[in-house]
Amino acid sequence: MLHYLWSFMIIVGMVWATLHGTLDAATQGLIDSAREAVMLGITMLGIMSFWSGIMEVGNKAGLLEWLTEKMGPVLNFLFPRLPKDHPARRPISVNMIANMLGLGWAATPAGLEAMKALQPGGENRHIATNEMCTFLILNISSLQLIPMNMIAYRSQYGSANPMAVVGPALVATTISTLAAVVFCKVVDR
């Protein structure tokens, strides 16, 4: 899937640019994006290492174990076939809680760790399991409760009530997450 998606984006982009005389812009877009990716990587290297460190402090102190236990019912519902002592349970819990609280930078390293822990061994390594699909779809359904970024942008652009987005955002994100859960439950049967 990713092979096709990636090839599609580059080839269609280049062919389209050739046909519409925007080839210079497309090439420049490639160079600019490569630089942008490295800049983003540097930001991530700092802030994600920091959060991984902070999370490890919580982990060693036993807090994450407690959190995972509290998340037990949710995990059992979403991942019914995941054993109770599976190593992915902790990073999944951390990822979900961090996402809900809006700590995106803390959520990503935990999410990647969860993916690694969920990956099957042997020949099926390259095929996503049901648990991996559910976990990813939930992440993409957006779990963040309060959109702090949007509130900040709205007030920056002179909104009379920047907070007005909070209520509808909570309802909308619940709807998108519910859609994700129902979809996963139906497919996962």
Binding site: A25, G58, A61, L136, I137, S141, Y153
Partner: protein, 173 residues
């Protein structure tokens, strides 16, 4: 409002709480921090190639003008579904790049105002959707999963539900 207040202080609170808890349990917290940070650096270094590959592809696609054309083709079916035309490019870009989508939202804010119908819809849309293709590539790319099975349809459905909810909810306000 309590939730918003909590969110604002969430980051310092979580950091202080975790460190404080570690100290009280008698842990060498800085050593623990360094272990975790080292693992985090490895993680980031591992996804950097994915990041470069994906972002360059997105960059080419955007700069070529293909996305604008795609938004144009989708305008007619979207109008039939009562999707405002400014939200089509935003929805497309939202799925591939967070920074580019934020740029589009700020354009909408500057042009129509954040409290307009379209400004509100864009605000909600950004709050209830994620960077679909970015997440998919980073998460699956990091473990070299190539057969993504039903992850993409599921993610598209969740995004569509979010977009629909944004449009309906903003029209009620």
């Amino acid at each position: 409002m309590i939730l918003v207040w909590l969110s604002r202080y969430m980051i310092p609170f979580v950091i202080c709480y975790l460190i404080g808890f570690g100290l009280l349990s008698g842990r060498p917290v800085f050593d623990d921090f360094l272990d975790g940070a080292k693992a985090g650096m490895k993680t980031v270094a591992g996804i950097l190639p994915t990041l470069i590959g994906l972002m360059t592809a997105v960059g080419v696609l955007r700069a070529s003008g293909f996305l604008d054309a795609l938004a144009g083709w989708l305008a007619a079916p979207a109008a039939w579904l009562h999707v405002p035309k400014e939200l089509i490019p935003l929805t497309l870009v939202r799925m591939i790049s967070n920074s580019a989508a934020t740029g589009l939202v700020l354009d909408i804010f500057a042009k129509y105002g954040p409290d307009s119908l379209i400004g509100m819809a864009a605000s909600i849309l950004m709050s209830c959707t994620e960077t679909l293709f970015y997440c998919l590539s980073i998460y699956f790319g990091s473990v070299k999963v190539t057969k993504t099975r039903y992850a993409l349809p599921g993610a598209l459905l969740a995004t569509a539900a979010g977009v629909a909810a944004s449009i309906v909810l903003s029209s009620f306000l």
